[in-house]
Amino acid sequence: MTVTREQMLAWLDALAGVYAENKERLTELDSAIGDADHGINMDRGFTAVKAELAAAAPADIRGILQKVATVLIKTVGGASGPLYGTFFLRAAAAAPHPEMDILAFLQAGVEGVRQRGKAEPGDKTMLDALLPALDAMRTGGLDAAAAAAEAGMRATIPMQARKGRACYLGARSVGHQDPGATSAWLMIKTAAETWRL
């Protein structure tokens, strides 16, 4: 399955809306086991992405993804900034033009997050939504990926965090859904919705 430059722009545009809508919710989740800013960070980042692309969208998908990466790295900050930034940086490298293969895109991005954050599955991070999504993508396509991401996100609730701020809470981190896994699910879900093929 591949997407065009226009579909990519449509997705990024949709994401800005999605993170704006979920700003409070993500921040709420981060209050419970973090420092109450994840929603604010994601909203700031993707609002900036939208503005940048509106001003001047690169001619090809790789250029677009590179721009998204640098904007996120410059504007998000925190842990999620470098992580999502690296996701798009690696995805850009993996993106041939004119069209982009979704599996290759996801594979490169998730691998980037894993390398940057050095987290393992079960550490209660965004990886717990991203890795299942990647596996499901291989076999069942985007809708399956979105469903797997959601399941992975819910699976973070009983986990005790071993990475990120939440791990400072030790056992008290159990019983809360990971904010980053939630923002990651929103990303895949939005892709499945905008790229209905």
Binding site: D35, A36, R44, G81, Y168, L169
Partner: protein, 333 residues
């Protein structure tokens, strides 16, 4: 939310503008990318010392920029790590040709952003050494986690390494010194109330009228445990025991002690806490060679305090006594 601010999104920028206006003799503030830098930076031939992290911990780090302490600081949004471009720009501004030390607090976000910045700096031919501060005894350390948080010892490391750099200490020795300070420093914090992140608009956590949080960090993260409110004596004994048993400190150790307010606790109480701390250490036969009492590494408007103890050697004590002229800490000049 009750704060003396305008648009919550502008707090950091507007506050930095005030810092720059109030201390033009000491520092300059650069925006986009945002960093605070010594008025006379870069100091030719001197190794640079910079730090950074989320805002909301004032005076740290911007208030520690100046002669004898930091060459530059990178303030992120409130409680959000600064970004690599900020850190790279601050490093360039601080580089007098002898390389730059990055003092990084151990938070995943800070670590990753400073890492990415270091890569950019190395690519640009600036030598960078990073030392991670992880002194919070409230967090159980472990190979499988992000490890301990960096808290109060950061302030002492910035003062001591800044003084060493001022004296011409080279980057390699600065790195070694900073690691030594981190290895000998321990902290523990507690909260009577939560703080309120301006952009969030409400307290990060709810605490009953007769509850307190023990083992908090500096970002309004809930602590290790919630317990019934106690008197200052009990609180200080508990915090100090956790610190002493961790290193462990021993009788005859000489220390630099910091009693730090979280932002919403007045000096009247902090001095009372210091009196309790002296009592506990005396009983343990541990001497306080130098001390700092006040708000140095805060958590917005949180009421509470933290205690930091550094087992100091002669070099650290001598560097501690060296002149420092910053907005947040000054002595000897």
């Amino acid at each position: 939310m009750k704060k003396l601010i305008n648009d919550p999104g502008d707090v950091v920028r507007e506050s930095l503008a005030g810092l720059a206006a109030a201390h033009a003799d000491i520092l300059k503030v650069h925006f986009d990318p945002t960093y605070v830098v010594r008025a006379d930076a870069p100091v030719k031939g001197k190794a640079g010392v910079i730090s950074g992290g989320g805002s909301g911990h004032e005076p740290m780090h911007g208030g520690f920029v100046g002669r004898g302490m930091l060459d530059a600081a990178c303030p992120g949004e409130v409680f959000t790590s600064p970004t690599p471009d900020q850190i790279e720009a601050a490093t360039r501004a601080a580089d007098g040709g002898a390389g730059v030390l990055h003092i990084v607090k151990n938070y995943t976000g800070d670590i990753m952003n400073f890492e990415m910045a270091a890569e950019l700096c190395q690519a640009a031919g600036i030598e960078v050494r990073a030392v991670v501060i992880d002194d919070d005894v409230a967090v159980k350390d472990s190979l499988y986690t992000a490890g301990r948080r960096g808290v109060g010892t950061t302030v002492l490391a910035e003062k001591i390494c800044g003084a060493a750099a001022e004296r011409g200490c080279d980057l390699a020795r600065l790195e070694e010194l900073c690691k030594r300070v981190n290895q000998n420093g321990r902290s523990m914090g507690m909260a009577l109330t939560s703080c309120t992140v301006p952009a969030a608009g409400k307290p990060t956590f709810d605490l009953g009228a007769d509850e307190m949080e023990m083992g908090i960090g500096i970002h309004g993260e809930p602590g290790r445990e919630r317990m019934p409110l106690a008197g200052a004596r009990k609180i200080v004994e508990r915090m100090t025991q956790a610190i002493l048993s961790d290193l462990p400190f021993r009788a005859t150790d000489r220390t630099i002690a910091m009693v730090n307010g979280m932002g919403g606790t007045p000096l009247l109480e902090l001095y009372l806490v210091y009196a309790e701390l002296e009592r506990v250490l005396e009983a343990a036969g541990i001497g306080i060679a130098r001390r700092l009492v006040g708000n140095y590494i805060t958590s917005l408007d949180m009421a509470g305090c933290s205690i930091t103890l550094l087992r100091a050697d002669d070099e650290m004590l001598e560097l501690w006594d060296a002149p420092v002229l910053t907005a947040g800490l000054r002595s000897g000049c």
